[in-house]
C-alpha cells in the first residue's frame, strides 16, 4: 500500500506491505537507521520518534498510521550548526556506551525538556521509564538530562 508521509521535513511516498510498521518503513525503506529495533514490542523505546509531534514507539505504529502525518526522527535533531544540546549533553555526561538505546533516549529527553524545561528527578525517571539501557545503569543519563536542561535554559 502507498504511504505518503513527511519525514524530517521531506515528503516521501513509499509502497509497503500492509503489515509494515513505521519503524520498518523508516529503517528498511527510507534508510533512516538511527531509530533502532531492540524489542519489537514497545518495551525498550529504542525506536522512539515523533508522530505529529507526539512521542511514539515506531515499532508499534502501523506504517499506514503515518499516512498524511508528520514524522520526525533522531536524524532531524542535529542540524548544520552541530549537535542538538541533548546530544551534546549525552556525550559530556558519559551517557553513551554501546549507544544502541541512545537515539531513542535522545529523542525522549528532547521531548521531555520541550514539554517540561525543569523536570524533577522523579519526573525524569518517569518520563524515561520506557527507554531501556543495558550498559549505563542510567545514572549518567540522568546527568545528561540535567546538563541538557542547563544548556536549553
Amino acid at each position: 500500500m502507498l504511504i505518503r508521509t513527511t519525514v524530517n521535513g521531506a515528503e516521501r511516498a513509499v509502497d509497503v506491505p500492509p503489515a509494515t510498521s513505521l519503524l520498518t518503513l523508516l529503517r528498511d525503506e527510507l534508510e533512516l537507521t538511527g531509530s533502532k529495533n531492540a524489542c519489537e514490542q514497545g518495551e525498550c523505546g529504542s525506536c522512539s520518534v515523533w508522530l505529529d509531534g507526539e512521542l511514539v514507539c515506531s515499532c508499534l505504529v502501523p506504517a499506514v498510521q503515518a499516512d498524511g502525518a508528520d514524522v520526525r526522527t533522531v536524524e532531524a535533531l542535529a542540524d548544520n550548526g552541530g549537535l542538538h544540546p541533548v546530544q551534546e549533553a549525552f556525550l559530556d555526561a558519559g551517557a553513551v556506551q554501546c549507544g544502541f538505546c541512545t537515539p531513542g533516549l535522545v529523542v525522549a529527553v528532547a521531548d521531555l525538556l520541550a514539554r517540561e524545561p525543569h523536570p524533577s528527578e522523579d519526573a525524569i525517571r518517569e518520563a524515561l521509564a520506557g527507554n531501556l539501557c543495558r550498559c549505563t545503569g542510567y545514572q549518567k543519563i540522568v546527568d545528561a538530562v540535567r546538563l541538557a536542561e542547563e544548556a536549553l535554559a
Partner: protein, 765 residues
C-alpha cells in the same frame, strides 16, 4: 618532535571517540547494514529439548516466491560443527536436536517477509526423546545422555591444606542457587555476509573476538582463513553474549551458495535462543572458623548447568571453582566444581564469568558465620581478607596488589543514604514505585555488604596476546596518529582509552582508530576484563617504539610500529587443582541499602556504595560507567532477571517478560576507586568491566536479608520470598563428585576438535 600535552590523555574523562555518530543515529550497528541486491535470511529452530530428526521437508519452502536457498544439515559439505572451546555444536542439527532453539535450517529470500514465510513452510518430523533439564538429574547414572560420551562436561577438584582434619570451632553450612541470566544486550545478533570474487567471503558482523570467529567459520565454509575476511560491525552491547558464533556461519554459507550478499538479524525472541546465557548455579558451602573469627576451612560443592553445548563452560567452571572460597585466607580448602551438559539452552560467558554465582554463596555464608560468631560482618571480612602475598586455594600466590582491607574501609566510609520519612512520599518513592501500590505502611530498611574478586585476562596457561599497529603521519596540520587493531569495542569505551594512550605517549591531538578487522593480528577477546590491559598494552608498546624511532629521524615519512602485548604467564591446574592459573586479580566491595515493603514483598534499592580496585583509572567517567552499568546487571539478577525454563523451553523470551532494570529500578551508585598499580600492566591498570556485577547481586540480597531476617538463598529474590510465601530453596545434599579421568574437559580427553584452545595454545600443537 616536541611532546606537548594534548587534551584527552590518560586519566581524563575524554569524550568517546565514537560518541558523535552514536548520538546522531549514524553509527552502523550490525542490524543497520545493507548493500545492493542483498538477500535476507532467517533460521528455523527446534521446538524440542531433545529429539531425533526423522526428516526435514523443504520442498514447499524452496518453491515459494523469492526463496533463493534453503540449507539443512544434510547440505553441509565441510566442517559440520563449531564451538569456542570444543567443536561440539552443529552448524545445523542433522540427526538430533539437543535444546529448544537449536538451528535446524536456514532460508535466504529476496525479502525478510518471504524468508519468514518460507521458514514457516519447512516441516521437520521430530521423534521426541527423553530430555534432561535439571543439572542434578544430569549426574544420575540413568539420566538421558545429552552427548553419547556422558553429561559431565568438566569437573574441577581443588584440595589445599588438610580439609579433612581442619580444626574449626564454629561451622556454617549453606545452600544457594542462582538463576539463568540473559545478557540482554539491546543490539541484536546481526551481520552481513558478502561473497567475494576470489571465492572467499567478506563478513561484517557483531562479535567480541574477530579471530576466534574466523577460526570457527573458515572450516565450516571449506575456506582457508585468509579468505574469510571479517570486519567488525557496530556492536550494541555484548556482556559475553557475542563470544559465541551466531549468524556468521549461516549467512556465509548462504552467501557462498547464492553468490549474493546475505543479511541476518535476530529479533528479540530469537536472540534469547541465539546466544548463551549465564549459568544457573547450585552451591553447597561450608565454612569453619575459630571462635575469634579466623577462617580455617572452606568446603564448596558447585554445580553449573552448561546446557546442550560446551561454549566456554570449561573456563567458567574453573573460574567459579578457584574463587569459590572467597577473597579470604583459608588454609584448608576443598572445592568440587562440576559443569554438566543438559538439554537446556547453552550457557557460556556473561559478565563476571562464574564469579557472581560463587560470590552470592560465599558472601551469604560469611554473613551467616559472622552472625553465629557474634561478629560484625565487616570485621570478620577484615580479619580474613587476602592481601599481597596471600596464598589462594590453588596455591597461587597473590603477587599483585590486593587492597581488600582498604576497599572495605573505603566502602564503609561512604556516607549511608539519609533516612527518609515513611509516609507522605510521592508514590514513585516507595517500593513498587510507579505501580502505586504502597503508602509506606510496613517499610523496612536493610544494609548489606559483599566483597568479591575476579581474574583479569585469560587463565590456565593460555597466552591471549594482543597485537596493535600505531602509525604517526605528518600532515600540513601537524602529526596525526592512527591505530589498527582487531580489538572489539562493544560500548565499554576501549577505543577512547586507546586514543587517550596515543595522545599521552605521542603528544598528538588527533588519533584515528581504524576499523577492526581480521587483516591484522589477533587482539584476543574483549572479555575477562582484559582488553584495556592487553590491547592497551600493545598500543602503548607500539607508541613507545614509534617514539624511539623518532629519536633516530624526523617525521618526514610516516612511522609505523607493530607491538604484541603478553601478560604474565599462567599455568594449568594439576590433579589437586594446584597451580597459578590466573594472570591477575581485581577486587571490589559494595554496600547495598534497600527498602522492603514487608507486606507486599516489593523492593526499592536506595543506594549502592562501591569501592573498586582499579590499579590506575584511565578514564574516570568511563570507569564509573562500568561500575554503574555492571551494578544494574547484578541488581537485575538479585531482583527480577531470570530466564524461566519449562522442560528446557524459555518461557519469557521478550523484554515484556524478562525484566531488565529500568531507570525507575536503579539506585544511585557512589563509586570510589583504589589505585594501587599492577606491576607489568600498562600504567598499572586493572580491567574494571566485570567487578561490580560480581558483587552487586550478593550485596543487594544481603541487604534484603538484613531488612527481612529471611534466609533468601536464591537469586533472583521474588516478592513471595520476601513475604515468606515461597519456602527457601532446599537441597537433598551436595551433588555427587563425578568419576572423571582428571581436571581437563571431558571432550578434551576424547580428542574432540578444539576450538579457541587451539588458537590460544598455538597452531602447531
Amino acid at each position: 618532535m616536541s611532546v606537548t600535552k594534548p587534551r584527552g590523555g590518560i586519566g581524563e574523562s575524554a569524550r568517546r571517540v565514537d560518541g558523535e555518530p552514536k548520538v546522531t543515529g549514524a553509527y552502523a550497528y550490525g542490524s543497520d547494514l545493507a548493500t545492493e541486491n542483498m538477500l535476507w535470511a532467517v533460521t528455523v529452530r527446534s521446538p524440542h529439548a531433545s529429539a531425533r530428526i526423522r526428516s526435514i521437508d523443504t520442498a514447499a519452502a524452496r518453491r515459494m516466491d523469492g526463496v533463493r536457498c534453503v540449507l539443512t544439515g544434510g547440505d553441509l559439505e565441510h566442517a559440520k560443527t563449531f564451538g569456542l572451546e570444543f567443536c561440539d555444536q552443529p552448524v545445523l542439527a542433522e540427526d538430533v536436536v539437543r535444546y529448544v532453539g537449536e538451528a535446524v535450517a536456514v532460508v535466504a529470500a529476496e525479502t525478510l517477509e518471504e524468508a519468514r514465510l518460507a521458514a514457516a513452510a519447512i516441516t521437520v518430523d521430530y521423534e521426541p526423546l527423553p530430555a534432561v533439564t535439571d543439572m542434578e538429574r544430569a549426574l544420575d547414572a540413568d539420566a538421558p545422555l545429552v552427548h553419547d560420551f556422558g553429561n559431565v562436561l568438566r569437573h574441577v577438584h581443588i584440595v589445599h591444606g588438610d580439609p579433612e582434619h581442619a580444626a574449626a570451632e564454629v561451622w556454617v553450612d549453606g545452600y544457594y542457587e542462582t538463576a539463568m541470566q540473559d545478557q540482554a544486550a539491546l543490539g541484536p545478533e546481526a551481520g552481513l555476509a558478502v561473497p567475494a570474487a576470489d571465492g572467499g567471503i567478506d563478513l561484517y558482523a557483531v562479535t567480541q573476538w574477530i579471530h576466534v570467529d574466523r577460526q570457527q567459520i573458515a572450516p565450516c565454509l571449506g575456506l582457508p582463513e585468509e579468505k574469510v575476511r571479517i570486519t567488525l560491525a557496530g556492536v550494541g552491547g555484548a556482556f559475553g553474549s557475542r563470544e559465541d558464533i551466531h549468524m556468521q556461519i549461516h549467512a556465509s554459507l548462504l552467501a557462498l551458495r547464492t553468490g549474493r550478499a546475505v543479511k541476518m538479524v535476530y529479533g528479540r525472541e530469537e536472540s534469547f535462543h541465539g546466544h548463551v546465557h549465564r549459568h544457573p548455579s547450585r552451591t553447597w558451602i561450608r565454612y569453619g572458623a575459630t571462635r575469634d573469627g579466623r577462617l580455617v576451612s572452606a568446603d564448596v560443592r558447585l554445580l553449573l548447568d552448561g546446557g546442550a553445548y560446551a561454549s566456554s563452560s570449561p573456563a567458567v567452571v574453573v573460574n567459579a571453582s578457584t574463587f569459590a572460597a572467597g577473597p579470604y585466607e583459608v588454609a584448608n580448602v576443598r572445592v568440587e566444581g562440576t559443569v554438566v551438559y543438559t538439554n537446556n539452552p547453552p550457557c557460556g560467558a556473561m559478565r563476571g564469568f562464574g564469579a557472581p554465582q560463587v560470590c552470592f554463596a560465599y558472601e551469604a555464608a560469611m554473613d551467616a558465620l559472622a552472625a553465629k560468631l557474634g561478629l560484625d560482618p565487616l570485621e570478620l571480612r577484615l580479619k580474613n581478607a587476602v592481601h599481597r602475598g596471600s596464598v589462594l586455594p590453588t596455591g597461587q600466590v597473590l603477587e599483585g596488589p590486593a587492597p581488600v582491607r582498604e576497599l572495605i574501609e573505603r566502602c564503609r566510609a561512604i556516607p549511608l543514604p539519609d533516612e527518609e520519612r515513611t509516609v507522605g512520599r510521592d508514590p514513585i518513592g516507595y517500593p513498587g514505585g510507579a505501580g502505586n501500590v504502597s503508602r509506606g505502611e510496613s517499610l523496612r530498611r536493610g544494609v548489606g555488604y559483599a566483597v568479591g574478586f575476579k581474574n583479569v585476562m585469560y587463565s590456565e596457561g593460555f597466552d591471549d596476546a594482543a597485537e596493535a599497529t600505531v602509525t604517526l603521519r605528518p600532515t600540513p596540520d601537524g602529526p596525526v596518529a592512527s591505530v589498527r587493531t582487531a580489538a572489539v569495542d562493544y560500548g565499554q569505551g576501549l577505543y577512547t582509552v586507546l586514543a587517550q594512550i596515543v595522545r599521552t605517549e605521542l603528544g598528538v591531538d588527533e588519533v584515528v582508530i581504524e576499523p577492526s578487522t581480521s587483516g591484522v593480528g589477533s587482539a584476543g577477546s574483549t572479555s575477562a576484563s582484559r582488553q584495556t590491559t592487553m590491547t592497551g598494552g600493545a598500543v602503548l608498546g607500539a607508541c613507545r617504539e614509534v617514539r624511539a624511532a623518532l629519536l633516530e629521524r624526523d617525521l618526514a615519512e610516516p612511522i609505523s610500529r607493530t607491538y604484541t602485548h603478553h601478560h604474565r604467564p599462567t599455568t594449568p591446574i594439576d590433579e589437586n587443582g594446584q597451580g597459578s592459573p590466573h594472570a591477575s586479580f581485581a577486587f571490589v566491595v559494595q554496600r547495598a541499602t534497600v527498602e522492603v515493603d514487608a507486606e507486599l514483598g516489593l523492593v526499592r534499592v536506595v543506594q549502592i556504595a562501591t569501592a573498586q580496585d582499579a590499579g590506575r583509572v584511565m578514564n574516570p567517567q568511563g570507569a564509573e560507567g562500568q561500575v554503574e552499568g555492571g551494578t544494574a546487571q547484578g541488581v537485575g539478577l538479585a531482583l527480577t532477571e531470570e530466564v524461566i525454563l519449562e522442560d528446557g523451553a524459555i518461557r519469557n523470551a521478550s523484554f515484556t517478560d524478562y525484566l531488565i532494570p529500568t531507570i525507575l529500578d536503579v539506585a544511585p551508585v557512589v563509586t570510589e576507586f583504589v589505585e594501587e598499580p599492577e606491576e607489568g600492566a600498562p600504567y598499572g591498570l586493572k580491567g574494571v568491566g566485570e567487578l561490580a556485577t560480581v558483587v552487586s547481586t550478593a550485596a543487594v540480597v544481603a541487604a534484603l536479608r538484613a531488612a527481612t531476617g529471611r534466609t533468601l538463598n536464591r537469586a533472583p529474590v521474588h516478592p513471595d520470598d520476601l513475604v515468606g510465601i515461597r519456602p527457601e530453596a532446599t537441597s537433598s545434599g551436595p551433588a555427587p563428585v563425578p568419576d572423571v579421568p582428571g581436571q581437563k574437559s571431558i571432550p578434551e580427553y576424547l580428542g574432540l576438535g578444539l576450538g579457541q584452545q587451539m588458537l590460544m595454545k598455538g597452531r602447531d600443537e
